[in-house]
Structures are given as C-alpha cells and as structure tokens.
C-alpha cells in the first residue's frame, strides 16, 4: 500500500483542509489501485487545476499536472498512443473538479464520444475551492457560494447525463462516503473504454461556510441529481476503432515523381491567369497546365484564389511557366488572361488592361481587341470552357507542343477522352487564327 501511496500513514500531511472530500477520494483510489495489484509504473494520474491538482505528490505513480480543464484531453492523447502504438497496458486516471469539468466540458464529451480508454474521477464539491469558493457549472440550484450569495439561481449541469448521452460506456454517480466507492472505482479502472465517476464531496473550506451542510447531506444532494447511478456498456474503444479503420502500419510515403517527356525551351517566363466559376474545373485545368510544363522540362507554379466556399462564386488560378526556377509567384501583368465566366470576369476586371492577350468567352464582351471564343459552349464537359480556352492558347501561340498538354490530360486529368476532344477543338480554332510564336 505504501508502495502506491506516499503518505497514507500520515493523513496530517495531506495538502487539503481537514475533512476535505479529496482526502477521502485519494485514499479510496489508493486502495483500489493497490487491490488491483498492478504495477505503479502502469498508472498515470493526470490532474487538473484546483485543490484536486495537489494530488501528484501523494501517489507513487506517473503524474502529469496540467491546465485548468485540459487534463482530460492530455490524458486522451496519452492513451491514444498507448492504445494504438504501444501495448495498451496503462491505466490513465484523470483527477478533475467540477470547475475543470465546466471549463473542459468539450474534452470530456469528446473523450466519451471516441471512447478512449481513460478513467475520469470528477470531484464535485459544487464550487471552486482554490480560488475562494466561487460557483461552477455543476453548482446545485439554491447552493450558496461566494459568487451566488443568495443561492445559485440555476439548475446545475448534470454531467453524468451529458456524458452518458455523449457515448460514455461506463458512467457512475455517487458520493465520497459511499461504502461501494472503491469497488466502483475499481470497475471503472478495469473498464475498456471511457469511464467516468462523478463523486459528490464536501469542501470544508467554503461549502460549509456558506451553507448549512455536513457530509451526511451529500446523500440528499445525490438524490437531487437523480440518485446513484452505475452503468456499464460494451463498445469498441478508440484504439480498436482506429486500428480497424485507419491504421495500416506498413508502407512508406513517397512522392509520385513526374518524368520529363521532352525538354523544350522558353525564352521568357509565361504568366497565365485563368478566371472562371467555382465548380467549373478552373484549378484542375490550371494544374494540368503545370503538369504539362513539367513534362516539357519546365518549371511551374500555381496559385489559386477562390471565396471561402469553394463551390460558388469565382475561381482564379495563376500559373507561371518558366525555364528557370520561379521565385516570386505573383502575377501583375499576365501574358495570357483567360476568362471563362462572368464570375471570373468580375474578379479579374482590373487585369484586362494589364494583360498582353485576353482570351475570353464571346458572350462576356463585345471588345474586338480580345480573342472572343465560344468557350462556354463546352460547358457540358467538366472544365470544358477552360480546356477549350487553353487549347486556343496552344493553337494560336504555341508555347510548346500541344501534344504535351494532351499527355498531361491522359496522365493526370479526369474525364480524359471528353476533355481531350474539347482541348483539340480549342487548338484547331487557335490555329485558324494564324499561329503566332509566344510573346
């Protein structure tokens, strides 16, 4: 017993006030651990903030003293690793108060939801002891604290009900004097999955100062919360779920390299902006432009711009193609500005005067100085207007052989055959305008 508990035989050395419920719970926990006959090294106590966090020194086990409310999440991280990557032998016990459970409620809910194999002991003494007896989310109605001097006007959070509904597979509610507390804690420790025990207890420092209450009154308070509870269910734990669904444990991460198909040369970098509508395949078309450039032995960058909702409004891709390494990836003056929809048109209007060549869907403008082409006629193919316009660019200006872009479609594209057809039609339209070498 002394093996587990540092000062079991010297209760006067406890850091808590005389009669504090924490003392009782610590002693019961020590007995429970002792009776389970497990090694000290296999226990981790993760403590929260508040008087409850003074527990570390009392136990000869691993201890982690965390932040207010975060103990559950740190414990979950420990146990996720233990369950999936190690031998799943650690018993991880969270020592948290009603305050920590309030501020860290989401961590408790999440741990219950994913059924990570930790045991949480909620020390509910209805108030914040360490900071002077303020109320918490778990303070009962009409209970007096330093911040609810006329009695708490609100009903408390029923933490066990919340966690039960969050998927906890072991949940219990009792009070510190319950003769069965030790057995309940033992059961919780042995449970495979998320286990939580709410233990009502007394803060002799503050609860008794403001309220007419003694230890014997805890039973009544338990009844007010719905009485004693202990339920155990069976469900896969986090580790079991993870290993079944995600964990592979083999293989290596490798990038898929792109083999140069044919090295072409390019005197000046090409700056191309494609502006269209989200959901019409602008970014994929732009990336095929980059892939084709890499197949051609060139370098490429692609920057995308879209509203936060990726499926509506404009979608703009900026592509630079260069023989040399590209450093600054911004484009102020595009060599080619491709506009395939009204959304794109509105977005890049300020670029129209700065661009050397504008390739634009014919329905969007009357301006004769632009290359007005029937791009949106190809809307039935995903990305069609963009591939048609890029095809036009290749046909008219021939930055490099259009066959290399065709290879990129076949290697990295989607709906390859249809896209290829649209692209080729764009190329022939471009050629019919008279081939011009790149700017």
């Amino acid at each position: 017993m002394r093996d587990i508990f540092e000062i079991i035989d010297r209760p006067q050395n406890f850091p808590y006030c005389p009669g504090c419920g924490h003392t009782t719970i610590d002693m019961v926990l020590a007995r429970a651990i002792f009776e389970l006959g497990l090694k000290n090294e296999d226990f981790v106590i993760v403590s929260d903030i508040g008087c409850v966090g003074l527990v570390d020194k009392l136990f000869r086990v691993h201890t982690v003293h965390t932040l207010h409310g975060r103990s559950t999440a740190v414990a979950a991280g420990i146990k996720m690793v233990d369950e999936v990557l190690f031998d799943n032998k650690l018993k991880v016990v969270v020592m948290i108060g009603d305050g920590g459970s309030t501020i860290g409620l989401l961590h408790l809910v999440e741990a219950a939801k994913i059924n990570v194999d930790i045991t949480v002991l909620i020390h509910n003494n209805f108030l914040y002891g360490m900071t002077g007896g303020q109320h918490s989310g778990l303070t009962p109605k009409d209970f007096k604290t330093s911040t609810t001097l006329n009695g708490n006007p609100f009903e408390p959070l029923k933490i066990i009900d919340i966690l039960k509904n969050s998927g906890a597979t072991f949940y219990a509610r009792t009070y510190s004097q319950d003769p069965e507390l030790k057995e309940i804690i033992k059961e919780a420790l042995l449970h495979r999955g998320f286990a939580v025990v709410e233990i009502l207890e007394l803060c002799t420092g503050y609860a008794t100062r403001y309220n007419e209450i003694k230890g014997s009154g805890l039973k009544n308070m338990l009844d007010n919360l719905g009485g004693k509870v202990k339920v155990k269910e069976k469900k896969e734990s986090f580790g079991e779920i993870y290993k079944n669904k995600f964990f592979d444990g083999k293989g290596e991460v490798e990038f898929k390299g792109i083999e140069i198909d044919k090295r072409v040369s390019l005197k000046e970098p090409l700056k191309i902006v494609i502006a269209g509508s989200a959901g019409e395949g602008v970014q994929l078309a732009a990336s095929l432009l980059c892939y084709s450039s890499i197949l051609a032995g060139l370098n490429a960058t692609q920057k995308n711009d879209n509203p936060v909702t990726v499926g509506s409004g404009f979608s703009v891709s900026e592509v630079i193609i260069s023989e040399r390494n590209i450093k600054y990836s911004g484009i102020e003056k595009p060599n080619y500005l491709i506009i395939t929809s009204i959304d794109g048109f509105k977005r890049v209007k300020n670029l129209l005067n700065l661009s050397e060549n504008v390739i634009i869907d014919e329905t969007l403008t009357e301006n004769k100085s632009y290359f007005r082409i029937p791009a949106r006629r190809y809307l039935s193919v995903r990305g069609g207007p963009n591939y048609f316009s890029i095809g036009f660019l290749f046909g008219k200006f021939s930055p490099f052989e259009s066959e290399i872009f065709e290879k990129a479609i076949l290697k990295y594209g989607k709906s390859k055959e249809e896209v290829l057809k649209v692209f080729k039609e764009g190329v022939s339209l471009g050629k019919s305008y008279g081939v011009q070498s790149p700017a």
């Binding site: 965390t66 932040l67 414990a75 991280g77 999936v84 989401l106 964990f247 692609q302 102020e332």
Partner: protein, 365 residues
C-alpha cells in the same frame, strides 16, 4: 525527377520523415492543406493522426502523445493559434516537445482566410505567459518547408521545447514544380532519454542550459510532469531557490543551444544596401537582389535571434531595408535597436510584396 506539390504537402512529408508519429489538428485555412496528406499517410508509417474537436484539444492530444515519447505535431493559423497558446505555455513549462505549424493568414481575428500575411511573428515569439523564449523557424521558399519542418521537429526534440514552424498561405497553398533531389534533408535528431540507475528526476540539469534527459509517462522510471512552478523532481514549489534556477534554465536552454539551429542565408553583393527579410517575401528579395545586385540576408531562425551574428553584418551597410508583409513591421521592431539610423521598414498588407515594389522603395531612399 520533379514533383508538383504545395508547401503543405512538403510539410506533411517533412514531418513524417522527421519521425513525427502523432498528429492532431482542427482544420483551418491555410493550414488545412497539411491535413489531408498527413491524415492519409501517417497511419501507413505506423503513426496516429486524428481530427480534434477544437484547437485546444488538438494541442493537448499532441502533448499527451509526446509524454509517451512520440514526436508530435499540430498545424493551425492565427485564430487557432490564439486558442493554443495556454497549452504552448504548458508545454514550455513542463518541457514537453511539440511542433506547432503556424500558417499565417490575414488578421486580426478571422481576417482573410485565403490571403497571405506575415503578421504573426511577434505574436508567436511572445505567445507564452511569463515571457520565455520559444524557438521559431521559418522556410523562405516552398521547397524549404520540407527542410524546416524537420528542423522544427529536431529543435523541439533536442531541446525539449514547443517549437513553432512559422509559415504562410503562399507557402502552404501554392503548388510548385520541385526537383525532388534538391530537397535538403537535415540529420534527424531524437530526444535524449534517461537510462541510468540513480533516482530519476523529470527536470534534472547541472548547467542551466542542459536539456534534462527525458523519460516517458508509463516508462520504467516514475515521472512527474507539471506546468506549475516546480523543482527538478517535478514537485510543486514556489519560494524555493531551485524553482528560480528552473526558470533561468528554461531561458538558457533555448538561448544557449539555438546556435546549433541558427539558420540564415546571407548574400553579399553591394556594400550600400542590405535587404532583410523572411518567409515567402524572401523570394521577391532574391529577385531584386539578382537584378539590382544588392546584398540580402534572409532569416530562417526567427526567434531567438542572435545579435552577435546580426551586428557585424549590419555594420557593413549604409542602409538596411527590412521587407515584410505585415502592418507594423514585426521583424523591424524585433531588431530596431541593432539598426541605429540605418534601418528602413517596408511593409504591406493584403497581397505579396512584388519585386518592383521593393525597387520603387529603394529608389526613394
């Protein structure tokens, strides 16, 4: 062999190659691009990657995993980083290695999710309560995001500290053709573990700058980790000389050991003007430097800075122009006392600083 990748993918790959085997995150643009590759690939190499219910959970999970001896990483942007900082303080105080990727976007608050910015340097450098140093490294090209992810993980492991990889939208989300063989892969460092026969102390050191030997939670030596003021054993203490010594240790450990991880790129061309920058703005600076034959200094370890390294460089120039994409001139503020009356601050918000804007600025000096 070339690849076509975003900085985000390179960060994911760098993390895995650095030995990261636990990743937890809560999605936020422009850090989200790191998620898909790392969620997909980490389980394949025998690691755990999880989506958390918020940023505080994400970093707390990482801290828990790191306590087990596993290299851990999370990634976020300004708003999420704001939520994480209490836990970063905790990792600092309890000397738990963890790497935080901070992919900057336009701020303040939710700001602009898909707009680049370099506004978080001072925020990151002084992000802990108490004012203790946290190492920050920053890639200055898309390619370097691979190398510097490894450096960040190395620092966090070697020095038992939270470490920040400071990057930005134009690095994580821009895709670039990259020559695979050109990626630099630093030597991988692991945290040093205790293996002795004496009583183990979680925070043992002799010289203030020593990095205490680590032992995992659940290992053969009982450990006592804590984020509260403590002695070498990990016992809660307040008015004790050992606690004050511990606090000095937290500073010295970083300041004295950053030498091994002090990265910068210095090109000497013209003796008059030095361009000084970091992050993706460095690419514009390099272009200008080449075209106008100007000297430049790119800082890649951004915090703590080594004044004894910067001073002699600064002394050689008549004018020093600090170029950065934020409203206040964060790096300029950090080094202003070293610049005398030679310092000029070129800042911008809302879009990348183009090479021509740097040239225009210089022409007015």
């Amino acid at each position: 062999m070339k690849i076509f990748v975003s900085g985000g993918e390179l960060i994911a790959k760098g993390a895995i190659d650095a030995g990261v085997r636990f990743f937890a995150g809560y999605p936020i643009t422009p850090a989200s691009v790191i998620y898909e590759p790392i969620m997909r690939e980490l389980p394949k190499v025998g690691g755990v990657s999880v989506g958390a219910s918020d940023e505080i959970s994400a970093i707390s999970y990482c801290i828990g995993a790191s306590l087990m001896g596993i290299k851990s990483m999370t990634a976020t942007s300004g708003p999420g980083f704001s939520l994480m900082i209490e836990s970063i303080s905790f990792a600092l105080m309890s000397e738990i290695p963890v790497t935080i990727v901070l992919a900057q976007r336009l701020g303040p608050a939710t700001g602009g999710a898909t707009t680049n910015s370099q506004g978080d340097l001072l925020f990151a450098a002084f992000s802990n309560s108490g004012g203790y140093p946290i190492p920050i490294v920053s890639p200055s090209t898309i390619e370097e995001s691979y190398e510097f992810t490894i450096h960040a993980v190395n620092i966090s492991e070697a020095l038992r500290t939270p470490t920040i990889l400071l990057t930005e939208k134009e690095v994580t989300m821009t895709r670039k053709s990259v020559e695979l063989s050109s990626l630099r892969r630093p030597e991988i460092l692991d945290r040093k573990v205790y293996n002795g026969e004496d009583e183990f102390k979680t925070y043992n050191f002799v010289a203030l700058e020593d990095v205490p030997l680590f032992s995992p939670v659940g290992g053969r030596y009982l450990t006592r980790y804590t984020g509260s003021a403590h002695d070498k054993k990990g016992d809660l203490k307040k008015d004790d000389p050992e606690v004050i010594e511990m606090l000095h240790h937290l500073k010295e450990k970083i300041i004295k050991n950053i030498d091994k991880f002090y990265f910068y790129e210095y090109v000497e061309r013209n003796p008059d003007i030095l361009l000084l920058s970091y992050g993706i703005t460095s690419e514009s600076v390099r272009e200008v430097s080449e075209e106008e034959s100007l000297s430049y200094l790119i800082l890649k370890t951004l915090y703590p800075l080594k004044e004894e390294n910067l001073k002699p460089i600064f002394e050689r120039y008549k004018k020093i122009v600090v170029v950065e994409e934020n409203i206040i001139g964060s790096l300029f503020i950090l080094i202003r006392h070293l610049l005398g009356n030679k310092g000029y601050s070129l800042t911008k918000v809302g879009s990348l600083i183009a090479p021509w804007e740097i040239k225009r600025f210089i022409s007015t000096l």
